[in-house]
Symmetry: C2
Subunit: 325 residues, 2 copies
DNA sequence: CATGTCACTGCAAACGTTTCCAGTTTCTGG
DNA sequence: CCAGAAACTGGAAACGTTTGCAGTGACATG
């Protein structure tokens, strides 16, 4: 049988209320505090978090809903969120949606049942603001914002990053630039729009495709893209696509950067191990996580703040994959 | 104000017990079930998991304690565990120890407070069986076993994998084989012992070093190792070390496989993107997670089973990094 | 017809906390 | 020395469920 606060109270010769206050931050005499502490040690008492949550109506847990933890971007993000959460005395409930709106809805429901005190998520493009509001808890969106809504968010400066990529490719002599973008997220859409805008500013033709954000889907989409009309540069909107592009080039014996330049988002660990290294926009993922958690805690603290939108700059890292042909 | 089972009961014109049974699996008439369901829909009722857990003394959550989720091995593992857990109607609490025994102890304590119904973990070498037993909950060890104890475990067949690596390197003409192994885990120790045993069977000298399992520590240890006496082949006990070795070779302009062959554990996504590809032992990580969850559920079901030890075979994937010089 | 079984239902007691309230003591300032 | 505030303490009522127990009919069995 598990030892409860009652046993501690008996052992310390005080009431349960007093034990509760001694363990929390209520006012107790030094003498009682000492007795309670040694009673806790003697009995091996461990607070029951469920009882605590039920009574106090606070959960000390936050939800984190991402597409797939195996995507290094989300891996890093989750680690950063977790560190920040545990530092604030909170636990994290992690869920993977696999970009499936049905799973996303299910997990939102679960988070509501868990009565998490807040939620950090990267929504799919198909999530309705209404569904999100139904969760009725503070929410911070990371990486992917929902346009026209009032949720706090932490995102990359996609306009600037996209322009930097395009400008860099143009400077390296590329003129037939194609792009592949994730179809399930607002971010994919945004990057496509920004890349297209940048291309138009240079008076260059616009060639872009969409794909589900998975290695296989990206690989297939790229195969088709290269089939139609061979570009001389490729912009990939996430790390999975970059990897798929590189793999495809190996298979087809396409020379990088000779025949094709490659550049994209996300600086995964291997981008400087391959030859040539890959030119990428490095996203400050750790900062995403930290900022998101910070924003969430602030929102939990005071529900009525104006919605806050944090925009972080990426960093263009130039490597061999985009050297002049 | 949140809607409780009482509101549903009132709306459906039945008692709370009946609602509880209708939602669970108690016997209820079809008529009542219908009324309860529509009452749930009408009121927007969501069960309060804390109350449920408090009353039923079951938590529907399992803990997962790993070294660092950013290590792709643990990323994959956690995803597999989560899928299996959610399929079984359980939630997962994830913790990163960073190989720090103090953090490990802290999270064990947390898991006990959460009253998780079970625990899956990759223990550090410094965790005492006694401390683990104090958690007083079913535990399954993954990837890293604790010798001489009675915990369920799911591990790789390290003896066979190590022998395969050594045999392969010897077959490719290597004679001065060195190894780097993780110092914090039982698995690192085991792989070292097995590699050394295999080398001795070939009558070859034994050259092995230990390092904290991080990229930087591995990189430094390898630099020192190559300094002392240049080997013609390197065995790395995990993916981080493989990456560090490759990076070091790039920096030092060491030709692979010409001057140095490289082989190791963990088939990370980039191992076939670099040139030459890296020869590795692929671990069935998804199976690790699935098996672990399955073992845990079995153990939760019946506490008194004989401890079970699942040993899975790795797969040697030969690539260019170990071609004859 | 009597009896037992079965399916269903409600009452009320937990589960382990926190927190409101009221009470006692001690301190503080005038 | 007194009044009031402040510090500390215990009693008891929640928080939202599940579940043991007992009760009600309906129905089958002998």
């Amino acid at each position: 049988m598990s030892v409860s606060i009652k046993d501690v109270a008996r052992a310390a010769g005080v009431s349960t209320s007093t034990v509760s206050r001694a363990l929390g931050k209520g006012p107790v005499s030094a003498e009682v505090l000492r007795r309670v502490e040694s009673a806790v040690a003697a009995t091996g008492y461990r607070p029951n978090l469920a009882a605590r949550q039920l009574r106090s109506q606070r959960s000390m847990a936050v939800g984190l809903i991402v597409a797939d933890i195996r995507n290094p971007f989300f891996t890093q993000l989750s680690r950063a969120v977790e560190d920040a959460a545990y530092a604030a005395g909170m636990r994290v409930l992690l869920c993977n949606t696999d970009e499936d709106p049905a799973r996303e809805a299910m997990y939102l429901e679960l988070m509501a049942e868990e009565r998490v005190s807040g939620l950090i998520m990267t929504p799919t493009r198909h999530l309705s603001p209404a569904a999100l509001a139904r969760v009725d808890r503070p929410v911070v969106l990371v990486d992917r914002a929902m346009p026209e809504t009032d949720f706090d968010s932490v995102v990359l400066d996609n306009a600037r990053a996209s322009a930097e990529l395009v400008d860099h490719l143009v400077a390296s002599g590329r003129r037939r630039i194609a792009g592949l973008f994730g179809s399930t997220s607002a971010t994919g859409m945004e990057r496509r729009a920004e890349v297209e805008a940048a291309l138009e500013r240079h008076g260059l033709p616009v060639r872009s495709a969409l794909s589900l954000p998975s290695f296989d889907a990206g690989h297939a989409a790229l195969a088709e893209l290269l089939e139609r009309e061979m570009p001389d540069a490729l912009i990939l909107s996430n790390g999975l696509f970059v990897r798929a592009a590189l793999k495809l080039c190996h298979e087809r014996r396409i020379a990088i950067p000779g025949q094709l330049a490659i550049a994209g988002f996300d600086d995964e660990v291997w981008t400087d191990l391959v030859d040539p290294g890959i030119t990428v926009i490095r996203q400050p993922v750790e900062d995403f996580g930290r900022e998101a958690m910070q924003a969430l805690l602030a929102r939990i603290g005071s529900a009525k703040m104006r919605p806050r939108r944090v925009v972080l700059a990426g960093e263009l890292i130039v490597r061999g994959s985009t050297a002049p042909a």
